[in-house]
Amino acid sequence: MNSEKGLGARKAKDWTMRGVALALTLVILIPLFDIIYVVAVNSAPALSLTILTKTTADGGLINAIAGSVFLVCFSSLLAILLGVFSGVYLAEFGGRFASVVRLLADVLTGVPSIVVGYFGFIVFVLDFGWGFSALAAALALTIIMLPYVTRTTEFALRKVPSDMKEGSFALGATRSTTVNRISLRYAAPGILTGVLIAVSISLGETAPLIYTADFSNYLPSGALTHSPVGYLTYVTWAYISEPFASAHQQAFVASLILMLLVLSIGLCARFMVARWWKS
């Protein structure tokens, strides 16, 4: 093939394409390092204990940190409860309804988070009368996390070796016992990777929260309804457009905390993927 072209020209083209592939790979990685660099450098002057002792109104971030942790824990709890058992249904029971659920789980991952936010605002905040609240915000996040937890649970359960399940059946265990005692236990690390990814996604969400959690300069009150909640992504978004340098620093520190959390969760998940999914 390519007999019309000399070998030299073909080799030159080959080397050019090798170069282009390498160059574009580097081009895509530069922003990653620059994001980390820019966020770290700009938040460095503001790094002090104030962040953990004062609220956003006084130059700290403790209300946003506490709010983010509160919302993520709350929504993770709901998403794990719903997602793991939905995954069990998809992997172990199934039938025609399962393929519908599977399709709709994929649909749900594709729903833009701002659409979930608008839905949450009109339905939870206004119609249900919950007001700006942890409950409305956590439910919005749950809707976003649910399909990830569900599908990973399904994938993980499908990797359980059939001889383990058959061994359990042979010992006289019922299906429900086998799922709870054998399959879920074996698949737990795989399920956990999905949960970690869902947690990292919900930690970084802003659009579904702006009109469900609103924002608060105070620590979360613990009340589930009628009590706005602060969170980190809001600080990044809103404070960077304030005219004060101190507000900008808060925005950068909020981003730094987000990046550190997301990166460490990502590394954890990757480590578990390598250990478990590969085996």
Binding site: F93, G204, G266, R270, V273
Partner: protein, 336 residues
């Protein structure tokens, strides 16, 4: 195994099926809510919704509401989304034009060129890009990309490529279509790339070796074996990326330059833009004040259209790639 169904098993199966029904409940809940809630707006706005270029809540001091197709609105109210539709489509198109070749290059380098020791860390880094929160992309775009665009990139592009339509003209303040497209490209690339990489890695090695044995250079082998083998995956992954770009809100809100909502169609790639996703955030505060609620209904119509557009992109993608975004993110290209 069916024979082992005891009453307890049946109860357990029923219980998990009920839990699994939460997914259809959420999807149809959102969809039916959007349809029902936007119904008055659909009647009031008609087809002008897609062709109109003004988003006007109408006269708040009016004594009497007007009625159109049986729906009450403020006098002078008109809701058209052409500008936002154009912003969404233009920014996503730019993003994909950049992201598709880049993703293929990154995937090719990872699978074919990268030394074994570099491969794993490289995959980890590209996947980390997928995990960066969109506000952080927005923040970076705002403090790094926007000034760079304003001072050098946009003026340079306009002076060298100004003869190409949409590249000439006023270069603006760094916020706008091109900046949004670049940030979106960065956000979409890891998703497209990880899906494509997974498929590249599955190219049958004997066919690759046969091509090399026939005297192909590595690039000729890639172009004639690896790429054709994965063309449906590339199409599917691109559609997944497109769905992502359509729905992205925060990053575009921060670098698009559409504080409030942009009132003009983009005239070139440096024009400020609003997208359907960003206007839901920027117009909701004012919409709440509309005594007829028509602005809220119209925003629901925006959300419905956005939902349907992303849905069609994702469903098309599903024809090509199985498992969708969830699988791309979770398996890190390792699912078998």
């Amino acid at each position: 195994m069916r024979k082992r169904e005891s009453p307890r098993d049946r109860a357990y199966g029923l219980a998990v099926a009920i839990v699994a029904a939460s997914i259809p409940v959420f999807v149809f809940g959102i969809l039916l809510f959007l349809i029902e809630y936007s119904l008055p707006a659909i009647k009031f706005n008609g087809l002008g919704f897609f062709t109109g270029t003004s988003w006007n809540l109408g006269d708040f001091n009016a004594v009497k509401f007007i009625t159109k197709n049986g729906v009450e609105g403020l006098p002078g109210a008109s809701f058209g989304i052409l500008i936002f539709l154009a912003g969404t489509l233009a920014s996503s198109t730019i993003a994909l034009l950049i992201a598709i070749p880049t993703s293929i290059a990154v995937a090719l380098f990872t699978v074919e060129d990268a030394p074994r020791r570099v491969r794993e860390p490289l995959i980890a880094l590209v996947d980390l890009l997928a995990g960066v929160p969109s506000v952080v992309y927005g923040l970076w775009g705002l403090v790094v990309l926007v000034p760079l665009m304003e001072r050098t990139v946009a003026p340079d592009l306009a002076s060298t490529l100004g003869f190409i339509p949409f590249f000439g003209g006023a270069t603006g303040a760094g916020y706008g279509l091109l900046t949004s497209g670049l940030v979106l490209a960065l956000m979409v690339t890891p998703i497209v790339s990880s899906t494509v990489r997974e498929s590249f890695a599955k190219t049958p090695p004997d066919v690759k070796e046969a091509a090399l044995a026939l005297g192909c250079t590595k690039w000729e082998m890639e172009r004639k074996v690896v790429l054709p083998y994965s063309k449906t995956t590339i199409a599917g992954a691109s559609l997944l990326g497109l769905g992502r770009a359509f729905g992205e809100t925060m990053a575009v809100l921060m670098v698009g330059g559409g504080a409030g909502a942009v009132a003009y169609l983009p005239s070139n790639v440096y024009s400020p833009i609003s997208t359907m996703a960003t206007v839901i955030v920027s117009l909701l505060d004012s919409a709440v004040t509309d005594p007829t609620k028509l602005a809220l209904y119209s925003l629901a119509e925006v959300a419905l259209v956005l939902f349907l557009i992303t849905l069609s992109a994702n469903m098309l993608a599903r024809l090509f790639v199985h498992g969708g975004i969830a699988k791309a993110l979770v398996s890190g290209g390792r699912e078998n």
